[in-house]
């Protein structure tokens, strides 16, 4: 096998389209994250182009592609389409070996994935019925508080331990509750803290479905929401454990897909 062989993982989520390119040894060469927007074919093309450019490869360079995410079937010329559950498991195993419980919160899905010592999926649970507590939920809440999504983690650090709670996790009702709290003069960091605790409670229930006791687990978190350290801290506090977050947590699924492409292509 030629050393210049490359493998591309593309994760088409509801909010972002992530691409990771690895080389023949499985080392990350380049990655890119672009907003998915309404036209996911354009997002796929853009992510692919960006990652190849960053790797210094020609746009038509031959790469083996594995697609994942809700739009995985839209990726043309793919070697395979693999679900994000398997890809996130594979990706976190490469980044944080020994992880046996992965919490992935993306744009519209939350997942708790139990792994064996070799990083294989033993069991998983996903949010059902609604997307409360996911990236889209946080986006709506940030908008209601007129702050940037990226500020939420920092604002959470300013929150004093308090008794402010949100009574609804329905995105629409929670948004109006947040607006009311702001209008009533509640401090934004306190509201952010309450939001993160509410998300953590929901995530804890999901985790307990696959893992009643997290004490002895090596727990990690992936997905775009893992960039919000306030959410990570709140979940860790409820689960009673430290949660490791890899660099670029939103690209874990794409990395897993790239590594699966490498395995399946027989590298």
């Amino acid at each position: 096998m030629a050393d210049d062989t490359h493998y591309l993982g593309v994760d088409i989520g509801s909010l972002s389209c992530d691409a990771v390119l690895v080389d023949a040894w499985g080392e990350v060469v380049a990655w890119a994250v672009v907003p998915t927007g309404a036209r996911n074919l354009e997002a796929i093309a853009s992510a692919r182009q960006q990652v190849l450019e960053r790797a210094g490869l020609d746009a038509n360079a031959p790469v083996s592609v594995v697609a994942t995410g809700y739009g995985r079937s839209r990726v043309e010329d793919r070697l395979a389409a693999v679900t994000e559950i398997t890809c996130h498991a594979r990706g976190i195993q490469a980044l944080l070996p020994g992880t046996t419980l992965l919490v992935d919160i993306g744009g519209q899905d939350s997942k708790a994935i139990l792994l064996d010592s070799k990083g294989r999926v033993v069991e998983f649970a996903m949010n059902d019925k609604c997307a409360a507590g996911t990236g889209r939920f946080l986006e709506a809440m940030a908008r209601a508080m007129q702050v940037e999504l990226q500020q939420l983690g920092e604002l959470d650090r300013l929150a004093r331990s308090g008794s402010l709670t949100l009574s609804s996790m329905c995105t629409v009702f929670a948004e109006s509750e947040v607006v009311s709290l702001v209008a009533d003069g509640a401090e934004v960091p306190q509201i952010v803290g309450a939001l993160h605790r509410a998300i953590a409670a929901r995530t804890q229930a999901l985790v307990r479905r696959v893992c009643p006791d997290t004490a002895a687990r090596a727990v990690a978190m992936s997905g775009g929401v893992a960039r919000n350290l306030g959410v990570v801290r709140a979940i860790g506090s409820l689960l009673g454990c430290e949660i490791a977050v890899p660099p670029e947590p939103d690209t874990v699924g794409a990395l897993g897909a790239a590594l699966i492409a490498r395995e399946r292509a027989g590298a």
Binding site: Y70, I85, T86, K118, R120, V121, K129
Partner: protein, 413 residues
């Protein structure tokens, strides 16, 4: 609206079956569908005494007394499968029914409100498997101003539970005799029970054959089968349908032909299938996944004494695990998982079904004890407005990946 639908269905299937004569093409499912369509014609035709019933009513006993009977939920499933359920559900929502309630029952209630349910001569409700179903039956009885007989099915093994239930069945006979004006013909009943017993023997063979590797059952062969075929019990039609399946499966097993091409993964489906058009079955088949057994596709009861059938019918009713303590159901599911060598279980956890969702954790734990993973879905099997195909597909695909990874690990991969 519904009668012409069933009449057209009958003539369409009859034509297809005629076209299949003299060929080796499978026909068992069509034969079954034809008889269900004919049942629909009788229910909606207005020419025979009709009883709307609970799921566990003794359909062969009623048939022997000249009554066309059916569990009312059948109409909900039929409306969903034909794409006509949404206006019925909307009708119930407009009259204050919560969307959290079982949509089988809401669909029937909506169809009643819309004047689509034929007026029965009487109703026969059963206290199990669900109280929601009993409430729906009370609604129907009040709407049609018809009398309702309630069969109380004990959920626990109390002393003389068989005698208690058999006594109610004898009371049911008197109830029906008064409403139809026809006394029970004991010889006719004995003949019906003999046909029930012959059907039972054939169904045992069908299910035994379905266990083969690869399973001969094509993706829709046994879909909605076990529960619905009970509507035909006591008739020669049931014997013929079961025999057609037995012969067709036996041919396929002898030839080593699987119902799902390239069967790689074998699953068990719990409780209800998704009744409206969805990508699930095609997705499973494309992935080489065969649903080799449905929870209701099993025979849990012994043959019945034709000359004194009431105790036997009572035992049959009490053998249905869904209306008994959870451990009975778990024991059955563990046995089915072993018998059919399934790799996994899909539990759709139909929204609004308290029995199904309430037992979810116990069932999952029971399957874990025999090393079989469970995929719990949260899906409304009737209401397509709540359906998110993308999320469902991801769950099912991930579950299949998990099973294949497990197999890879077991095989030393």
């Amino acid at each position: 609206m519904i009668l012409p639908y069933f009449e057209n269905l009958v003539s369409g299937i009859e034509t297809k079956l005629r076209d299949l004569e003299g060929t080796d093409e499978p026909r068992a499912r069509k034969r079954f569908a034809l008889e269900i369509a004919r049942l629909g014609v009788r229910l909606f035709g207005g020419r025979e005494p009709v009883a709307w019933c609970g799921v566990l009513a003794p359909f062969d006993l009623l048939s022997a007394m000249g009554v066309t009977s059916c569990f009312a939920e059948f109409v909900g499933a039929m409306l969903a499968s034909t794409g006509g359920v949404e206006p019925m559900l909307a009708a119930t929502e407009g009259t204050g029914y919560s969307t959290d309630g079982c949509s089988y029952h809401r669909a029937v209630t909506g169809a009643t409100q819309q004047g689509l349910m034929p007026r029965p001569d009487f109703l026969v409700a059963t206290s199990a498997p669900c109280t929601g179903g009993l409430a729906m039956m009370e609604n129907l009885a009040r709407h049609f101003d018809k009398e309702m007989f309630v069969i109380h099915i004990p959920t626990r093994d109390e002393p003389d539970v068989v005698g208690y239930l058999a006594g109610q069945l004898r009371e049911l006979v008197r109830f029906v005799e008064v409403r139809t004006g026809r006394p029970l013909d004991r010889r006719r009943l004995a003949e019906a029970m003999e046909r029930t017993n012959r059907t039972r023997e054939l169904l045992l063979e069908v299910y035994e054959l379905a266990r083969s590797r690869p399973s001969p059952a094509r993706r829709r062969d046994l879909f909605n089968f076990g529960l619905v075929v009970s509507l035909l019990l006591g008739t020669e039609t049931a014997v013929d349908v079961a025999r057609t399946y037995r012969d067709e499966f036996a041919r396929r097993v002898a030839a080593g032909v699987g119902g799902v091409p390239g069967e790689r993964v074998r699953l068990m489906w719990l409780q209800n299938r998704i009744q409206f058009r969805s990508p699930v079955e095609q997705l499973l088949e494309q992935a080489g996944v065969a649903v080799v057994v449905d929870e209701f596709n099993t025979v849990t009861w012994d043959s019945i004494d034709p000359d004194d059938p009431f105790e036997g019918i009572a035992r049959r009713t009490l053998s249905i695990p869904l209306c008994r303590p959870a451990q009975r159901r778990i024991d059955l599911l563990q046995r089915l998982a072993r018998d059919y060598q399934v790799d996994g279980v899909i539990n759709p956890c139909h929204w609004g079904c308290r029995q199904g969702t309430g037992m979810r954790g116990l069932v999952e734990e029971g399957m874990r004890q025999v090393g079989v993973p469970v995929l719990n879905l949260e899906v409304d099997c009737i209401d397509p407005r709540n359906f998110a195909p993308g999320q469902l597909v991801t769950r099912i695909e991930a579950f299949v990946e998990l099973i294949e990874d497990r197999r890879g690990a077991r095989d030393g991969g």
